[in-house]
Amino acid sequence: MCAETGRPSRVALALLLAVALLPACSGPEYSRAAEEPEIDSPALSTRLDSKDIDLALAEWVNQLARSEFVKGLPPGKPGIAILSFENATSEHISGALDTLLTAAETQLVQSNLFHVVDNTTIMRDAVLAERLRDAGDAVDKETAAALGKEFGIQYFVAGRVWDTTEKSDDVRRVQYHIFLRVTDVATLQLMHQTRVDVTKQENY
């Protein structure tokens, strides 16, 4: 009898089970970086993330500001445009490169050294956009002349990201090499080139 009274009732057991299962039934939880800054830090894939883009951009801006090219700029604000960032890697990073392009444009505007023609304006010209796509980072004289004539651009920036990727049984390492170069529209002379390296690794 005593043993019977000491045993938890079925209702109590069901309640206990429901409480135990409750956390498992709740949906995903969300965080805000403004409140939890550490959520921006970890690398979640071998692709380029916001932190990689910021680091690459900071390095580019730093090298560009100290370059002979910027020191020797003629008076007034010469026109400049960023044409493209080509993805020559084994990662689907086109979205990240679009972000990098826009962020680089922002930096150029904020430097107050150039008159910046935004990439969207140039790519709206379908004929020119196709010529630029075909040319990749090797823009020919005619296309360069068209850029100067139609958009008042004296310099253009083209970027290309290469990678060296290796895989073993337990590791996949992607070494990105981001090249950014500034070219003179009139002479097609390379005025400045920067290389920024970013390495990401996936451990199995």
Binding site: N87, A88, T89, D134, D163, T165, K167, D169, Y204
Partner: protein, 441 residues
């Protein structure tokens, strides 16, 4: 008497050959409804989002989407799958790892073979090419290259694929990465020396369109790849019979022997087979078999203990003296226990079933403008009537139009018979399995 009874039991207990279990989406796919198959798969994924089958269902869905002409959806899905898909290398993984994954008591998340992993990139590459997304196709080409050149693997264990190198070459060339493209074509060429038909196909694949022309690439995914099916094998290990289930690879009939491409009612060419998925998978399976058998035995050890324990418990019951009938009954009980446990613990036979058996490829120059392209399919291995699949192509100068034709849809459903029960003790694979097992002790 004991031997006779055991012999009788083995004969009676022999696994009756049956058909490999078919999923409704597979029947829909092969009966000409890849879109319906895609809907069924999507519904299952929606309902069983966190199921251990999720990754393999996504691969199946990608194939259904490709066959339904939804290449953009398929490529996006394959990119996601590639990020999350884990690989299990049947030829190199330690036996206990294989035992843990292939012979698990509870269903585990799907782990793809290295070959399937490579085909994830190949199919995504193809999908991006069909969609005209050259840069994304080039990314997949590079991802495939990383797998093809995977460090840490001896040369003879790497997958050498003319098709994947060649498609990578086309994608990289189209994306403007000419140096990388040349390297890829060189690698493809090295794999098919002494094969004039394939070398000639590679020449055509590497030729960019001449001035004022475009070009047409036709990829035909023909037939159906082998699938894994439950098989039961017997092996004598240390004078005891062990009966285990394991995932046998079974070839499936299907595919058209004669495939031609016509452009505007004129013969444009005959696609050349560049990858025999079926033959490559079956060859690889021969290498895998001893390890799979050994892993099956590793996984079977607890079951063997159970059946031996039952036999021992009956034979050595203290209440009885030695009795031949009792010994026979003990063997019988032990055998039946092992039998029940073998039936109750099947091996993992999940695989990417909607893959083709082979890929055939043709690239021809084409003048800019609107064209009708027909792929004609004749001499079906399943007796399906000849078919003509039509596409409309509007080609611009310098462009590459890509057609991806999956022949298995509409060729009809065909049952596949599972392999019968076999005693592999005296086969080469069985002996190698036993050596592996002893080496692992």
């Amino acid at each position: 008497m004991r031997a006779a009874l055991l012999g009788l039991l083995l004969t009676a207990g022999c696994y009756a050959p049956a058909n490999v279990r078919a999923e409704p989406y597979q029947r829909a796919f092969y009966r000409g409804h890849p879109d319906r198959a895609a809907d069924m798969l999507q519904q299952r994924l929606d309902e069983e989002g966190s199921s251990p089958d999720r990754d393999v269902l996504r691969l199946e869905l990608a194939s259904a989407l490709v066959a339904a002409g939804r290449d953009a959806d398929a490529s996006a899905l394959l990119v996601d799958a590639d990020d999350e898909l884990e690989t299990l290398d049947y030829t190199r993984a330690p036996l206990d790892t294989l035992a843990e994954w292939v012979f698990a008591r509870e269903p585990k998340p799907y782990r793809a073979t290295r070959f399937e992993r490579l085909l994830v990139n190949a199919q995504a590459l193809l999908g991006f090419l069909v969609e005209g997304q050259a840069q994304e196709a080039a990314v997949e080409a590079r991802r495939a290259r990383v797998l093809l050149l995977q460090s840490g693997l001896p040369d003879d264990e790497r997958y050498a694929s003319v098709l994947i190198w060649a498609l990578a070459g086309v994608a990289l060339q189209h994306a403007g990465a000419r140096g990388e493209a040349d390297d890829a074509f060189r690698s493809a060429r090295e794999l098919c020396h002494d094969d004039p038909a394939r070398l000639s196909a590679l020449d055509a694949l590497q030729s960019p369109p001449a001035a004022g022309q475009g070009s047409l690439l036709v990829v035909v995914q023909n037939g159906r790849a082998p699938v894994r099916a439950q098989a039961i094998v017997r092996l004598w290990v240390d004078h005891a019979l062990r009966r285990v289930q394991f995932p046998a690879l079974v070839a499936r009939p299907g595919g058209y022997a004669r495939i031609e491409v016509e452009v505007d009612d004129a013969l444009a060419g005959v696609p050349v087979p560049l990858l025999d998925v079926g033959a490559q998978a079956l060859r690889r399976y021969d290498d895998e078999l001893p390890r799979l058998l050994a892993a099956a035995l590793v996984a079977a050890v607890p079951r063997a203990f159970a059946s031996d324990a039952v036999a021992r418990a009956i034979r050595h019951d203290d209440d009885h003296h030695h009795d031949t009938t009792r010994d026979v009954l003990a063997d019988l009980a032990g055998f039946l226990t092992g039998e029940l446990l073998a039936e109750a613990l099947p091996a993992d036979t999940r695989c990417w079933t909607l893959l083709p058996a082979e890929f055939r490829v043709l690239r021809v120059p084409l003048l800019p403008g609107a064209h009708r392209v027909d792929v004609t399919l004749q001499d079906s291995a399943l007796g399906a009537p000849p078919r003509r699949v039509e596409w409309q192509v509007d080609l611009r100068q310098g462009e590459l139009a890509v057609i991806d034709c999956v022949t298995a849809v509409e060729e009809g459903w065909a049952d596949v018979q599972a392999p019968g029960e076999q005693d592999l003790t005296h086969t080469l694979a069985g002996q190698q399995a036993l050596e592996l097992l002893h080496a692992a002790d």
